[in-house]
């Protein structure tokens, strides 16, 4: 039987408040009992989440206000932390396969590259006028 911990946030789609998401991720991970993650793992999840939500702010709600719903979950049976981001903004059209290697001089594509490098799973889909991003990382 898995011990699934879930937490949800509803944030304004604004760069100003994305730090709240990072703080929630860190606090939640620090309360995982048996196998607390390392500082590096916490940072990597915070950064991946920051990059996904920055993409949403930048692309989904250009010139208008919007919300980002974030669902955090930790499954202790498989020691996996998952984050699902949903928004009702414009479809994300720049979802090309991120580069496998990044030359530091490339400014574009760095966000997607980082997400892919920092987590084990990354998926995007558009369902009924809703964008859904899902990232997951094993913490074992």
């Amino acid at each position: 039987m898995s011990d699934l911990v879930m937490l949800s946030l509803d944030l304004p789609a604004s760069h100003r408040y994305l730090n709240v998401l990072g703080a929630c991720i860190a606090e939640m991970l620090q309360r995982i009992g048996d196998h607390p993650p390392s500082e590096n793992q916490i940072y990597e999840l915070q950064l991946a989440a920051q990059e996904v939500s920055t993409n949403i702010v930048k692309h989904a709600y250009v010139g208008r206000e919007g919300r980002i719903h974030v669902h955090l979950s930790y499954d202790s049976a498989i020691q996996q932390f998952g984050i699902i981001f949903t928004d009702t903004g414009d479809e994300f059209n720049s979802y090309d396969e991120p580069p496998h290697e990044l030359v530091a001089s490339e400014q574009g594509g760095m966000g997607l590259f980082l997400i892919k490098a920092l987590v084990d799973e990354m998926h995007y889909q558009r369902v009924n006028e809703t964008n859904i991003w899902r990232i997951a990382k094993k913490l074992n």
């Binding site: 760069h15 100003r16 994305l18 730090n19 990072g22 500082e39 590096n40 916490i42 940072y43 990597e44 915070q46 950064l47 920051q50 990059e51 920055t54 702010v57 930048k58 990044l102 030359v103 530091a104 001089s105 400014q107 760095m110 966000g111 590259f113 980082l114 490098a117």
Partner: protein, 113 residues
């Protein structure tokens, strides 16, 4: 009569100390500060990131932009990396530690020129 010419060369270094969280929210202000620095004539910059706790791609892009502009003016931007191991790892992942000359102290920057 000896043939001798004596001239003074002064290299001015600008040390930019950054700390805390650098992200998409404050990256525009960071870029603006860098533009002001370059407009002041700075082209030898030392970025001291020891107190930086978190950087995202928007912040990294601002750093790269500073480097490119400084080098276009025949200058250089050297970097003292963050104390945070996690933040340093991101610089390695993005190969920023290969693009920026990495130094341990401000004194080291002066000695290597």
């Amino acid at each position: 009569m000896i043939d001798i010419r004596i001239s003074e060369r002064v290299i001015r270094y600008y040390v930019v100390e950054l700390g805390g969280r650098l992200d998409a929210f404050n990256a525009p202000e960071l870029r603006q500060q860098f533009q002001m620095l370059l407009a002041d004539g700075a082209n030898q910059v030392i970025l001291d990131l020891q107190r930086v706790e978190f950087m995202d791609s928007a912040a990294l892009a601002a750093l790269i932009s500073l480097l490119k502009q400084a080098r276009q003016g025949a200058g250089e931007v050297q970097m003292i990396p963050p104390r945070s191991e996690a933040a340093r790892r991101i610089l390695s992942l993005t190969k920023f530690d290969q693009v920026f000359p990495i130094i341990a102290t401000v004194d080291e920057a002066v000695k290597t020129r």
